[in-house]
Symmetry: C2
């Protein structure tokens, strides 16, 4: 696209530079700071959240923050990466033993919505990454769309779903998950997840079956 | 949800307060400022865009901005409202003479993707509204989901689609459009829109038909 590049925060490789804690206590402190940052940035947004808010929420001295992270940008970047890792792990665990793709879609959608309902702040942080740290945002969605595309291609090969462009289908299905996740997080929807999934899976399964 | 309210910019009723230009020339200037703001905020993001950037892009003096808008928040709010108005008009024109819901879904998806490809900056601005002006963001999606829900309920009544929870389906279908729109805007996808729509409509039509 011919448009000026947005500021990406310059933190693309930040996690490689971070001092990794050497002790169990150090690891616990780092984790406490990340958990506090998730809550504070999720609730206030990146610009209004300060390092002081984060350390106060974590119950540590402000100087302690800088032992583990260089900046607010870096902790934000780490949270987006963590959301990606956690969601991919949840989805892979939820779908691992399910051979049929349509059944796996259903289990994956359920696992995703349960994760998002349990981690509303992480969901908001990933959405805000488009405006704060576009490298992290791109990496998050690229990893998902790649995996999704390959899974759909394999399912067409196996005859589990009928032929159709895998990349476009992957973005459409990701869009369904994301929108239903947002309905839980931003709109406070309280419909039981199994009811949401039953409605949507009826559409997806009939829409994709051979 | 039990979480602190985000800053919403306090501009929910801003457009009512704005001085409305009385002359055609005034209207043209106001429009030039809005168009410039769309480009500048879309490219730089809300925080990095300044009123100076906007007036420089519009080719007007900085003081002229304040004849029409109180603040950057107010011009942002107005852009989100405008995106809503324009998209609703496009969709209603594209689907007006189509009696069958499934055909209307296809025409609506096509019109939406064409609009988004032509207005990438407006698309980004609506997404950023979640973090800058949540009232405007909510109003945008509420208007869409309400209209969508009613349309799907009527289609079930008419026997054009099979029964199913209209609200959940509305969010799922909105998610498909949004994700495919984002693929065009953020990822620079160049697939022809009719090919994208053909793939996705195959899934939607089979997923919803009676």
């Amino acid at each position: 696209m011919a448009k000026p590049a947005r500021k990406t925060g310059g933190t693309a490789n930040a996690s490689e530079d971070t001092s990794q804690p050497k002790t169990a206590r150090g690891e616990a402190t780092r984790k406490a700071i990340l958990t506090a940052a998730e809550r504070v940035i999720g609730a206030r947004g990146f610009n209004d959240a300060s390092i002081g808010h984060i350390t106060s929420e974590a119950g540590v001295a402000q100087g302690t923050f800088y032992i583990y992270f260089k900046s607010k940008d870096e902790v934000f970047h780490e949270l987006v990466l963590e959301m990606g890792r956690l969601v991919r792990r949840e989805l892979s665990q939820a779908t691992r033993d399910i051979p049929n793709r349509l059944d796996a879609e259903k289990a994956g959608l359920t696992a995703f919505l349960e994760f998002v309902r349990a981690h509303p702040d992480l969901y908001r942080i990933v959405q805000e990454a488009l405006f704060v740290d576009q490298d992290a945002y791109n990496a998050y969605y690229q990893a998902f769309s790649e995996g999704y595309r390959k899974g759909l291609e394999a399912a067409v090969e196996a005859g589990h779903i009928r032929p159709g462009d895998a990349d476009t289908r992957a973005w459409a299905l990701m869009g369904i998950s994301r929108s239903l996740g947002e309905r839980l997080v931003i709109w406070g929807d309280t419909t039981p997840i199994d009811e949401i999934v039953a409605t949507v899976h009826d559409m997806i399964a009939n829409g994709l079956k051979p």
